[in-house]
């Protein structure tokens, strides 16, 4: 299937506050640059803002808006609780599925750590994949200063995202802060993230739809990214003037998101997409690609795409998508199967039925150990919600630790080394 001759649906979904903001950026800068009255081309991305917060949604610049979970949240937002966010998405499951039907490429943009982005986001992404679309997540992680709980929620949500999508672009906000510099305003920092998403969507769209010197179609993209369930990295660079190829290549390879070469060094698949004016030469393409592949160590699979655009005379922009070889952690995450829909629905129902107690488990007082919170939850509500509890150590064992009773345990591959060796090995002394 090639995008140029078939109608292909690209959906860009902004889920939650941060996701919608990113989408606004895409909408604001125009995508694609169409003038009113112009016949819409094939594969024009459809932008949809999805949020539980009605007020935030009404402020969105997006043409298409989707109010999530009206019955669950009464349009008041998820209150930072992913369970509420997920429940809201489940409520509107049918409507979402309807929207996603026939989509070929779906971007899900969300800020993790909160309720809607972190809770509803992965769910929607999964629906998109079930609808047969190549699904890419674009998520931001909260700033470190936003607190441990938010960060923990974000980490959990990122894991869900990885499983639900074909690939995830993950940008820690702290890194954006680095990119934007010390004196950057709040607006600047968030704008950096929004720009990145907008540029990524635009570049992919261009690559798939505009005629090019070297064509890459949807299947190439699919092959590069499908079912990776891992993080991928986007980076951009532009160059102008005589030596624009070198300038663009340097700009893209020095992009902070590439981690100073570390990402490229480990990359398994690299997609290099160039866009230049009509005068773009093959030599320039070759220069950029060889500069990029020089930084790669693992001899990755390099996909090259180049397109020309008469509005882009004298300039060259490079988009780089790198996906790493799978790390062990991802394999482990994949080994634990994604809960099937029914299970998920059942556990959701439990949580809803559990009401206050379920809230207590997640909300737990600050400073309170999760185990304690969990214990309380169990005490109040017999049965159900067992999957949220951590397995606990038998209280008996604590007495056996002697002087290490109150210090952080030394855990090595699941074994608590503070316990005497002879006890763990069951060797009788005397």
């Amino acid at each position: 299937m090639s995008l140029r001759d078939t109608k292909v649906r690209i959906l860009v979904l902004g889920v939650g506050g941060a996701g919608c903001n990113a989408l606004d950026r895409v909408a604001m800068d125009g995508l694609p640059p169409t003038s009113p009255g112009e016949q819409p081309e094939t594969g024009i991305p459809q932008l949809v803002a999805i949020n539980t917060d009605l007020q935030a949604l009404s402020n969105s610049l997006c043409g298409e808006k989707f109010q999530l979970g009206l019955k669950t949240t009464f349009g008041l937002g998820a209150g930072g609780d992913p369970i509420v966010g997920r429940k809201a998405a489940m409520e509107d499951r049918d409507r979402l599925a309807e929207m996603l039907r026939g989509a070929d490429l779906v971007f899900v943009a969300a800020g993790l750590g909160g309720g809607t982005g972190g809770g509803a986001g992965p769910f929607i992404a999964q629906l998109a994949r079930e609808a047969g679309a190549l699904t890419l997540g674009f998520v931001t992680l909260p700033f470190e200063f936003e607190g441990e709980r938010r960060c923990e929620q974000a980490t959990a949500a990122l894991g869900e995202f990885k499983r639900a999508t074909d690939a995830v672009v993950c940008v820690p906000n702290d890194k954006l802060f680095e990119m934007a510099g010390e004196r950057a305003t709040v607006l600047d920092v968030f704008r950096t993230a929004d720009d990145l998403l907008a540029e990524g969507v635009r570049a992919l769209w261009r690559m798939l739809t505009k005629p090019g010197l070297i064509n890459r179609d949807f299947n190439d993209l699919r092959r590069a990214l499908e079912k990776r369930h891992d993080e991928i990295v986007f980076a951009f660079g532009t160059g102008e003037g005589d030596d624009k190829a070198m300038a663009a290549a340097t700009a893209v390879t020095s992009n902070p998101l590439l981690g100073g070469g570390a990402i490229l060094a480990e990359a398994e698949t690299v997609l290099v997409s160039l866009r230049g004016g009509l005068e773009l030469t093959m030599t320039e393409v070759k220069r950029v690609v060889s500069q990029v592949s020089q930084q790669c160590v693992q001899k990755p699979h390099v996909l090259v795409a180049a397109s020309v655009d008469e509005n882009f005379a004298g300039k060259l922009s490079v988009l780089l998508i790198a996906s790493r070889a799978r790390s062990a952690t991802v394999e482990a995450a994949l080994a634990s199967p994604l809960p099937s829909d029914r299970e998920m629905a059942a556990s959701m129902k439990d949580k809803v039925a559990g009401g206050d107690a379920a809230m207590l488990t997640t909300a737990g007082k600050p400073g309170q150990r999760p185990e304690q919170a969990a214990e309380k939850a169990v005490g109040k509500r017999p049965g159900g919600d067992a999957n949220r509890l951590r397995q606990q150590r038998l209280a008996l064992e604590i007495n056996v630790k002697g002087r290490f009773d109150k210090v952080e345990p030394t855990i090595y591959e699941g074994e608590d080394l503070d316990l005497p060796t002879f006890l763990r090995r069951g060797i009788k002394i005397g």
Binding site: E144, P172, D174, M246, T250, T253, G259, G260, G261, A262, L264, A265, Q291, Q294, Q295, C296, V297, V400, K401, G402, R403, F404, V407, E408, T410, Y412, L417, D418, P420, T421, F422, L423, R425, I427, I429, G430
Partner: protein
């Protein structure tokens, strides 16, 4: 300055806090001139759990060292260890874009910077980024790539990282005691390796195991560079704790038994040999069978060594250890540990003592002082580097011009 420049290493250990004063001679050699030791309190598994108490001990140890070396201590180099210390290998790549594809010092700095940029957890801080080797256009094992021609420079580094807040606790513990100041921090295991291993042994390949009171730090060196390092938060305290729980005696008695009668070899203990503990327990004397004591100790030490063995296998360097294993730290005194370690690791084992410095022999010969002495050596390296870079700042221009001119004139 009439006296040679002093470098002070301070290790806040689990069982002792040790301050070592070294003098940096003009020829670059380090001589140990003073040692101050104070039994440690407020430290568990090499991490500070009671700041006030630990500060008291640091102060005492520093005072003792000042007296011993008859000098004033200001800036110190501090050692860090604990389960939070981790390591990984990373590589950086730098394209050489210069006019003649020649590697410059700036390229080397950039490639090291790239290699340092790694995804360690947010709360972590890099203690050391030690360059393992360079590669220019696929040519392996380049020692100094500056001036070589190529289009791609690659560097492999071994990065040792630790949790920021816990590292800061160590620094705070010393800074809270003016006029003491912390110049730099070092990972204890790395310091022990610096003290013990000669250049030749590093080339041959060596494993340094620093078994202290609270943790066992290890460093694997091969082909002249550090390949793997880490911490297993198990040490002498665990041995005593096991004895106390296994024989149902108080911890203090267990500690005493460990030192006076303890051993990890089962051969030299007679089955029926007993030790009586007098006065420790209220009613009468308690009789302890020595083979029970040794069995508990052996199990613990053997297990810890097995964990190190596993790390060694993981590093893939097991075949590259030509110089053998060096045991340092207080646990190196445990009777029979050398034979036990040889059995577990399948490598020749020796007790590691500070070979790379001169000075007070009573300090140099003791394996438990290897780490603080190594920290002094680390301090000397830091200051050497600083001096070099200061000198280079003035020289660098000339250097570059020289190279460029020689090419142009061709």
């Amino acid at each position: 300055m009439s006296r040679p420049h002093c470098i002070v290493g301070l290790e806040i250990g689990t069982s002792k806090i040790c301050t070592v004063v070294g003098e940096l001679r003009d020829d670059g050699a380090v001589a140990i001139v003073g040692v101050g030791v104070c039994p440690s309190r407020g430290v568990r598994k090499a991490e500070i759990v009671d700041l006030d108490t630990a500060e008291q001990c640091v102060l005492q140890s520093a005072h003792a060292a000042e007296e011993s070396a008859s000098t004033d201590i200001r800036g110190v180099y501090a050692g860090v260890s604990g389960a939070h210390v981790g390591s990984l290998n990373n590589r950086g790549v730098q394209p050489i874009i210069g006019e003649h594809n020649e590697v410059t010092e700036a390229d080397v700095a950039a490639v090291l910077k790239h290699a340092r940029t790694i995804n360690i957890p947010n709360q972590d801080v890099i203690l050391h980024a030690l360059c393992r080797r360079y590669e220019v256009d696929g040519q392996d094992d380049v020692d100094n790539p500056v001036g070589m021609c190529g289009s791609r420079l690659q560097a492999e580094v071994h990065v040792i990282h630790a949790v920021r807040s816990r590292t800061e606790n160590v620094i705070k513990c010393i800074r809270d005691l003016p006029p003491l100041e912390v110049n730099e921090v070092a990972f204890n295991g790395y310091a022990a390796a610096l003290a013990v291993l000669t250049e030749e042994q590093k080339q041959l390949g060596a494993l340094v195991i620093d078994m202290g009171g609270g943790t066992t730090d290890f460093v694997i060196c091969a082909r002249g560079a550090i390949r793997h390092s880490g911490v297993v938060a198990v040490g002498g305290d665990h041995i005593a704790n096991d004895i106390s729980l296994g024989l149902k005696i108080p911890l203090s008695a267990a500690e005493r038994l460990k030192v006076e009668y303890g051993s990890v070899s089962l051969e030299d203990t007679m089955k029926s040999q007993t030790v009586s503990l007098n006065g420790e327990i209220s009613i009468g004397a308690t009789v302890i069978f020595k083979d029970h004591l040794c069995q508990i100790m052996r199990l613990r030490v053997e297990e810890t060594l097995q964990l190190i063995k596993r790390e060694l296998d993981k590093s893939g360097c097991a075949q590259l250890i030509g110089a053998g294993v060096f045991l340092t730290g207080g646990c190196a005194h445990v009777r029979g540990i050398q034979q036990l370690a040889e059995g577990v690791l399948g490598l020749p084992v020796q007790i590691g003592t500070a070979k790379t410095v001169m000075g007070l022999t009573e300090a140099l010969d003791r394996p438990e002082y290897a780490t603080p002495i190594g920290i002094v050596r680390f301090g000397a390296m830091c200051e050497e580097m600083e001096r070099k870079s200061a000198r280079r700042a003035g020289r660098i221009k000339v250097f570059f011009n020289g190279i460029l001119d020689s090419i142009r004139n061709r």
